[in-house]
Amino acid sequence: MTSAALRSGAWKLLEMITTPLLPSDYLDLVSPLRAGADLRGRIEAVHPETGDAATIVIRPGRGWRGHTAGQYVRIGVDVDGRRLWRAYSITSPTNRQDGRVTITVKAIPDGKVSNHLVHRAKPGTLVQLDQPTGDFVLPKAQPAKVLYLTAGSGITPVMGMLRDVEFDDVVMVHCAPQPQDVIFRNELHDLVADEKLRLTEVHTDTDGVLDIARLDELVPDWADRETWACGPAGLLDAAEEFWSEHGVEERLHTERFRPSIVVAGDGGEVTFSATGKTVDADGATPLLDVGEEAGVLMPSGCRMGICFGCVTPLRAGAVRDLRTGEITEAEPGVLIQTCVSAAAGTCDIER
């Protein structure tokens, strides 16, 4: 017998011993971060960055496959006893010696998870993790000149990049309300002092919101630079327009943190067929919220349509994409993102 067959035989026997539970249910009691366990992490430290932002140091479980600079991770945190999933950019470099990863979180008003992580998270707490993903990453071939255009917490994926690779010529334009709101300010200024970075801070409380055309003056050679931009929709929309006006849109890479939600009409009766629950939903509430309200176990992540952590089969009926207004109708194999889809009439969600 090969050792693999032996192991799987032993595992089967273990399952017979522990039924109706699984061996992992017992192993989780003692070793939740072991190889083969559901991916989790343990919060080891929380470092405040600004008044409303903090960096969380996480020791990921053995199954963690590592990330690429600029990627994000879906993380499930128990807030007031309730597991909520969000996606956050990873801010630690890929070669960190101790194997820990960090995310940096800015508390947004009414943000349940962000406020919890920034103000209340305690070292020792277990969190659920997904493997990191995202294609807001650096290319294989080193670009000669780089521009990072960021605003607010949009700096977080870029910080992951800055800490990961050094380029010869890096310019950053970062917007924040006031100097003290700039996350990683000291570290950025150290990079500037070491001449590894040229930095322009735009303080929107005094300077007003960045007019994208000012780039001509702030970074005259912006069009020659490979650019990574991350921040609120307004900034990214303006950037996309500006870059394509100048015919250089292939140099611009963006990461959106928040969808611009359009209000849709309709709504209808939503059935969650796996659980047998039926509820009325309006046409503006994401089905993710509708399901969660009804006590259905809904997977989720960013809750803004980017991570696909919430995809669920649509068995019948139609839903409307809250970002585009586009209607999706049920067909075998059709998956919808429940966080950005609302009922467009009666529908059936396989949850």
Binding site: M16, I17, P20, D25, D80, R83, G295
Partner: protein, 372 residues
Amino acid sequence: MTAIDPTAHLTAEQIEELGRELDAIRDEVIASRGEKDAAYIRKVISAQRTLELVSRGVLLFSFFPPAWLIGTAGLSVAKIMDNMEIGHNVLHGQWDWMRDPKIHSTTWEWDHVSPSDQWRHSHNELHHTYTNVIGKDNDLGYGIMRVDEDQKWHPFHLGQPLWNFINACFFEYGIAAYDLELGKNLHKQRRKNPEFRARAKAVGRKIRKQVLKDYVIHPLLSGPSFLTTLAATFTANLVRNIWSHSVIMCGHFPEGVQVFERRSIKGETRGQWYLRQMMGSANISGSRAMHFMTGNLSHQIEHHLFPDLPSNRYAEVAVRVRALFEKYELEYVTGPLPKQVFSAWHKVFRLSLPNKKPKVDAPDREQELVAA
């Protein structure tokens, strides 16, 4: 269906008001669910797992009598915890709000021969909706007993104390059978129904796994303690069965608990539904340990009013519910376990014999029951 309706003094308006007051209690608890509650159930689950593991470990040496005793006691308690405070309540969706897929009614499986999804259907949907409605609530006498004077007597009922005792000893199998609605599904035409066959198969699979674990694998692992471990797991299952049967009997059988006719629930309002739950359930009084070991089903009245509230909150809810019983002059049926068990058994014995026909429109009522 006692001769005097104990709720007759309430006006329709009062019943709806009662409903609103109960809704308010529920809303408050729901709004205050949080970290502490989550920590509670997690702690109970890990305690149960640890206890089971340790007990089974001790039973590896069960040829040594003290080890047998300790292991058997531990395993019995672990099985009771699994079924009552954890399984029953998780399967009610009491912890679904946590959104933890490991502690969720749709994913949970328990140490019981009835697969959890089948039990969920018959228990949550049928028993909790049609509580104590004759002909609709299978829990009522489990289809093998006569539990109300108005039910037609049949010589078969003479044996019901015995049926009840056998059911207590093999309770989990009894439950599996009635989750399958065996009585009605064993008819020739129904037996072939593919849906029924699939469910029966699932039960078969579950039984096989449970039996293999308890009566083959663990005894084999004990080597020289094979027989003593076998006896230990059998005893633990027996203890768990008798215990849960007793607790559950106390929930709806003791004297003073009302049962209802099918007709009476047509067009039932929210307030009336609540009232039926209040009148159709009975509590067990006792210490905190006692409440815990019954899976808080000792707060049966509260559980029936709010089946999906976390079990650790029933004790505080009970104080307020009891005040409402007083306010509306209703009888809150409760008592210590021995008294309630005795009362329930007394009823089983009493109704095994025929009684005088009730005076009011009996023929009509009987038709209803037969139609059920």
